[in-house]
């Protein structure tokens, strides 16, 4: 075996230019595979993270009744069990962060134009710890140290549509829990929300419960807890979401829950399509690599016909000739695949730390949670699959030339170029 390896290794070096070309084509194919997989995995990771960080947490719990009318963001379907759910999570998952909020249908304007938006009533101190959408700090105190009456935070893109800057004023109009329509003028824009989520950045205005609860008539007499329409949880281990979902549904049959995995299924499905497109391109490049390998192997078989005849005449078995040719190609394939993995892996690792800035991509992506910074995500699987695919391409491509070489009649082969 050592002898065959030695012969295969030296044969692989016989036509260095050809071997180098073959290696280069494999490096290109394998390197692009690793980079493409890391790129799409990175997009998926970023989109999922964005969705978790800005919108959903690891688990969202609502009442079944609320789900029926969610499109209208009704305020008259309260989540009465919010504190019980929070207590359940705190007991079962000590690392869980629990947050609640109330969604409402809002209309905002600057006196000239109005736009429909999604309104959220939150406790800013806790909400900004759960969701990474930017700081929810109150505006500076007014003259004489007086707290402004009303303030809110708005998605950066939504604010941009009005030309609003931090400190500017606008009005908010909304249907309250009791069914009346209230309007609040002179609301100070306290900050801009920037998350990468189109829902947050383009359509959301966040109102602190300090004045929002009254504005929307959320607290009725006798109610002691903050009004909520949704409850969110974040766990130390995201995999706890499924167990938490089961626990809450078991304890509260009137509730419905959705884990981050269920919520981001559309992201993965979308990225699977993207992945297939990338793999198609990489596959074409690998096919070119395979043709290069096949050409190298075939040329070697043609050029060394007499040598193969000599080997067979000396008693080398056909299977050994086949193994010799396959070993030669595998060596070239292994070098090409290793280099491809190394180059693709290095590039991906670099882009893991240095994201690509793609502004406006969220619009192209049709509302997908697509932040402007795209990080690659290099995984051991990408490296392993890249290496194995390179080897497989080389082996499959070399199979026919190797079989052809092994089937040569020794006498006919010996007469070649004699």
């Amino acid at each position: 075996m050592n002898f065959m390896l030695r012969m295969a290794f030296r044969n692989a070096l016989r036509n260095r230019r050809r071997s180098l070309f073959t290696i280069a084509s494999l490096v290109l194919g394998v390197g692009l595979f690793v980079a493409a997989k890391s790129f799409v995995d990175g997009i998926e990771m970023t989109m999922v993270s964005t969705q978790i960080d800005s919108e959903h947490g690891h688990l969202r719990v609502v009442t079944k009744a609320y789900l029926l009318d969610e499109d209208y963001r009704p305020l008259d379907v309260p989540f009465d069990d919010a504190s019980a759910v929070a207590a359940l999570f705190a007991k079962t998952f000590p690392t869980a962060q629990v947050e609640s909020r109330a969604q409402f249908m809002a209309q905002i304007g600057d006196g000239v134009r109005t736009l429909n938006a999604r309104g959220l009533v939150v406790n800013p101190e806790t909400y900004e710890k759960m969701f990474r959408i930017g700081a929810l700090s109150p505006p500076p105190l007014g003259e004489g140290g007086v707290q402004p009456k009303a303030w809110a935070w708005m998605g950066a893109d939504l604010a941009s549509a009005f030309g609003l800057k931090v400190g500017d004023r606008f009005f908010v109009k909304a249907k309250t829990r009791t069914g009346t329509v209230n309007a609040q003028d002179g609301v100070i824009l306290a900050g801009l929300l920037q998350s990468g989520s189109a829902m947050t950045d383009n359509f959301t205005v966040i109102v602190p419960s300090s004045w929002g609860a009254k504005f929307l008539n959320l607290r009725r007499e006798g109610e002691t807890v903050d009004y909520a329409t949704e409850v969110f949880a974040r766990f130390g281990d995201p995999n706890d979401a499924e167990a938490a979902e089961a626990a809450v549904l078991d304890a509260h049959p009137s509730l419905d829950a959705e884990t981050w995995r269920e919520n981001t299924a559309f992201v993965r499905a979308f990225n699977d399509i993207r992945r297939q497109h990338f793999y198609l391109v990489v596959g074409i490049i690998l096919l070119i690599g395979a043709l290069s390998v096949a050409n190298t192997s075939l040329m070697a078989a043609f050029e060394r016909t007499k040598e193969i005849g000599t080997l067979l005449a000396l008693g080398y078995r056909a299977s050994s000739v086949r193994a010799l040719f396959l070993t030669e190609t595998l060596l070239i394939g292994a070098v090409g695949s290793l280099l491809g993995v190394a180059i693709g892996g290095t590039a991906s690792a670099w882009f893991e730390r240095h994201p690509i800035r793609l502004t406006g991509l969220d619009e192209v992506e049709g509302g997908m949670p697509m932040p402007p910074l795209l990080y690659f995500k290099l995984s051991p699987e990408a490296l392993l699959y890249g290496f194995l695919i390179g080897l497989m391409v080389a082996t499959v491509a070399a199979l026919l030339p190797a079989i052809r070489a092994s089937k040569l009649d020794p006498l006919t082969a010996l007469r070649e170029e004699a």
Partner: protein, 248 residues
């Protein structure tokens, strides 16, 4: 040196031992069957005895190479049989024939046919490697002994393209001999060598025949090589027309 007529057409007449090393029995080989068929050998009977130093001679197209290839299990007669040390090889499949060639037959080619990526040492070692049942220590000993006999100790690390024609043919002889085959078949072994180198190679083969009792069969046009043969089989139009054995 005197010559004596031979009754070579009989399968049993030429052997020194009772079982010939290789025997062709009524071997006929036809190329391009049909209108343009060529009868390369036609009903050839030939026994090669252990220790023979036999020259196959004849004009071009007389069937020398076909006889040599049939003896070496590289070609299969269309009619007739080939026995190697008593074993009928006519019905063996490719792998079994490869095993016969591996274990019992050594080849020396006109253009040396060394493996270009191997050194002189490795080319000789290669024979033992594919033989399979030789320990590394024994392999080393046998290859070094062969290099010493061939006078190639100083050139053992050189690759074929760094060796002269004569040196390459010596390596080829070493490669054939090192596995101690039953028979060594040489196809025009001196055709690509100059006069002096040819004599050198002939002398080496003869010495191996006498000292190591190696059995040689070679095809040749070389009068000088013929002169050294102890048995000369002459072919014309695919038939043996004479089989002369010279007195020792």
């Amino acid at each position: 040196m005197s010559t004596s007529p031979s009754s070579s057409s009989s399968p049993t007449s030429a052997g020194v031992d009772s079982v010939p090393v290789v025997r062709l029995e009524n071997a006929t080989r036809v190329y391009n069957p049909g209108e343009n068929e060529v009868r390369a050998i036609d009903g050839v009977n030939l026994d090669v005895a252990r220790g023979d130093f036999m020259a196959l001679v004849g004009p071009s197209g007389s069937g020398k190479s076909t006889v040599l290839h049939s003896l070496g299990c590289l070609d299969r007669p269309d009619v007739g049989r080939v026995f190697v040390e008593g074993q009928d090889t006519t019905t063996l499949n490719g792998d079994a024939l490869a095993q016969v060639r591996n274990q019992r037959i050594g080849f020396i080619f006109q253009s040396f046919n060394l493996i270009p990526v191997f050194s002189a040492y490795e080319n000789i070692e290669f024979s033992l490697q594919i033989l399979g049942n030789v320990s590394p220590a024994e392999s080393r000993e046998r290859v070094n002994e062969m290099l010493a006999i061939l006078g190639l100790e100083k050139q053992k690390d050189r690759r074929p393209n760094q060796l002269s024609g004569g040196q390459q043919q010596r390596v080829a002889i070493g490669r054939a001999l090192v596995k101690r085959p039953a028979i060594i078949l040489a196809d025009e072994p001196t055709a690509n060598l100059d006069r002096r180198t040819s004599e050198d190679i002939i002398g080496l083969m003869r010495r191996m025949n006498e000292d190591k009792h190696a059995t040689f069969v070679f095809s040749t046009h070389d009068e000088h090589l013929m002169h050294h043969a102890r048995r000369v089989v002459r072919l014309v139009d695919g038939k043996i027309v004479s089989d002369e054995r010279k007195a020792a």
